[in-house]
């Protein structure tokens, strides 16, 4: 009974837990509810992924209404993988968040924070698991509205403006997605993604499809912060509370990347719409621009959170590059990088939260001598940084390896070279941080600082260990990603 309803429980559980937090009002009680809901969601997602890997795609008809008429939840290896990523990250952040929130948000507002956190988780899981185009929009808006709240909780008043800007851009993005979905519905008469894909493949190519593709691409790109559409991201990440930044950086943009893959490959994959369209070239060009320009901007940032926010824009470039390359290695690289970057950025932003707790706002000048006072935090930052660069032995290397392979397979040696050169830019900004942390004398304020509490360090170091572990043992991540990439490419033929 429970087993067959796992896909529904995945979304419903955090959805029910959210108003529960609102009713309980006590900081500790709300935290415990968030704790149990997020860890149950993580367990459910792992169970679902294992089931998908052993027995193939799961299709769940919501309320017993058979698809394509009813709403279908459809889990294949790709979104099973993303579900695990999102829910495990969310679960690990909850125990960490206790201390960090006490320091950054007034405790009588904690229950509201947890309500928004769980709603955001609901939305992200919903976008990932659903097989219904309009459902995607609704869940996307649930997660986005919750995200705006999570950002606005920042201590700095600029968090409010950042949240407002994200609200404007996010809503325009979401509305573009609705227009795209609407046009597709007009042309195909269905909202079920799998059904839609089949019907598009049988139809002659008409202009509304092109318009739908354009609206969907721009809308989703706004959400995933593809270069020129990334403007909301740096401020939002820089001024949000540490917990929100870590959660959003590790999950929100990744779900949008998943959505882009879903629409590009599953829905439009068989339609031949890309044959006469320089779509992939355009995606590659924008990805390269993101990889270089955002990395260069990151080098000149003094606020460390902002620096890594720009680095996120650059790293998202690697994912879209893999999507644009559109061969097995490229797609595997993109999906693995989705996971790897989430792990690395999760580690970095959680550790920056430790810095924020013990020293104050992580500005580069204030972090001098960090390694002497907070050795574990500094060491974790180094591992996370190395992973962003893509040093062998860390997760970043694995995904970049696949991207380089994909470029070489296409015979584009220049592109392989550019991927390597852009990684060198990451060396510059990561080294800037390492130099300050390790080779400068502690400042006055720093010499009074102590290592962060274990309740924060342990979750952060789980991410750091994951950076190394999945860099050495690639069978789980690359294995799943390769299966997912294979099934996507097969569905295109």
């Amino acid at each position: 009974m429970i087993e067959s309803n796992l896909p529904a429980l995945q979304v419903v559980l955090p959805l029910i837990a959210a108003p529960l937090c609102l009713l309980l009002r006590r900081s500790t009680l709300a935290w415990l509810v968030a704790w149990s809901a997020s860890w149950s969601a993580a367990a459910i997602s792992i169970a679902i992924l294992l089931k998908v890997l052993s027995s193939g795609t799961i299709s769940y008809a919501f309320g017993g209404w058979a698809p394509p008429w009813g709403i279908e939840y459809r889990v294949d290896p790709l979104n099973g993988f993303v579900l695990v990523l999102v829910s495990v990250v969310a679960a690990l952040i909850v125990p960490y968040a206790r201390r960090s929130l006490l320091a950054e948000i007034r405790s009588r507002q904690h229950y509201l924070f947890w309500t928004a956190y769980l709603l955001c988780l609901t939305g992200l899981l919903g976008v990932t698991i659903t097989g219904d185009a309009f459902n995607v929009f609704v869940f996307l808006e649930i997660s986005s509205l919750a995200t705006y709240i999570l950002i606005a909780y920042g201590q700095d008043r600029r968090a409010l403006v950042a949240s407002y800007q994200y609200l404007i851009m996010g809503t325009i993005g979401a509305t573009f997605i609705v227009i795209g979905v609407g046009l597709l519905y007009l042309m195909t008469g269905t909202l079920n993604l799998a059904d839609m894909a089949q019907r598009i493949a049988q139809m002659p190519l008409v202009r509304p499809e092109l318009a739908a593709l354009a609206f969907l691409t721009v809308g989703i790109s706004l959400k995933l912060a593809l270069f020129p559409l990334h403007l909301w991201l740096p401020n939002a990440y820089a001024y949000a509370p540490s917990v929100s930044t870590a959660f959003l950086a590790a999950t929100a943009t990744k779900v949008a990347v998943y959505l882009l893959i879903r629409f590009m490959y599953t829905v439009f994959g068989q339609s031949g719409i890309f044959d006469n369209l320089p779509f992939e070239e355009m995606l590659i060009a924008l990805s390269l621009a993101a990889m270089f320009l955002a990395s260069i901007v990151a080098v000149f940032q003094d606020d460390v959170k902002r620096m890594f926010a720009y680095s996120s824009v650059a790293q998202i470039g690697y994912m879209t590059l893999g999507i644009g390359l559109a061969n097995a290695s490229g797609l595997t690289g993109a999906i693995v990088h989705l996971f790897n970057h989430a792990v690395a950025k999760g580690a970095i932003f959680l550790l920056l939260g430790c810095v924020a707790l013990c020293v104050g706002q992580p500005v580069i000048s204030k972090m001098s001598g960090l390694a002497k006072r907070m050795p574990l935090t500094a060491a974790g930052l180094v591992v996370g940084g190395l992973s962003l660069i893509g040093i062998p032995g860390t997760v970043g290397f694995v995904s970049k390896w696949y991207l380089v392979m994909a470029a070489v397979e296409k015979g584009w040696w220049w592109l392989a070279g550019l991927v390597v050169i852009s990684s060198l830019l990451a060396v510059v900004y990561v080294w800037r941080l390492i130099e300050v942390c390790y080779f400068r004398e502690p400042s006055q304020k720093m010499s009074e600082a102590k290592e962060a509490p274990l309740s924060m360090l342990i979750p952060a170091w789980v991410f750091v260990f994951a950076c190394i572990y999945f860099g050495l043992d690639t069978s789980t991540t690359v294995g799943t990603a390769a299966i997912a990439a294979q099934s996507l490419l097969e569905s295109m033929q």
Partner: protein
């Protein structure tokens, strides 16, 4: 093809572009939200227009009626309206908080204050 046949779509496109223009061109945070609302509303028209057949009724079988409108887009747009209301409400709440923090809701003045602070 008569232009008047597509009047709904012309209006929808006009509202869509008007909305986006207001969002981009206005510096007042509340006016931006008004623009955003107009922009979202235009999408409702894009959904509803093709699903309504003139002279047709809601799809309830009754003697004397043969033409039915497609109910699904109407339902979808009900959902979208709720989402839109929530977005605008949250946006206005943020504007209230911004006004408390900055004492202004003009974008350029907020920007100036941030520049002075750093």
């Amino acid at each position: 093809m008569n232009i008047a046949d597509f009047i709904n779509y012309w209006i929808a496109m006009f509202l869509l572009v008007t909305g986006i223009y207001i969002v981009i061109a206005r510096g007042n945070l509340v006016k931006k939200l008004v623009g955003l609302s107009i922009f979202q509303t235009s999408v409702y028209l894009i959904y509803i227009s093709p699903s309504k057949i003139i002279g047709a009724t809601a799809p309830i079988r009754a003697p004397g009626f043969t033409d039915y409108s497609n109910p699904l887009p109407h339902v979808l747009i009900l959902t979208a309206i709720v989402v839109g209301v929530a977005t605008i409400a949250l946006g206005l709440a943020l504007v209230v908080r911004i006004h408390e923090a900055y004492g202004t809701i003009e974008e350029d003045e907020i920007h100036e204050q941030d520049q002075d602070a750093t």
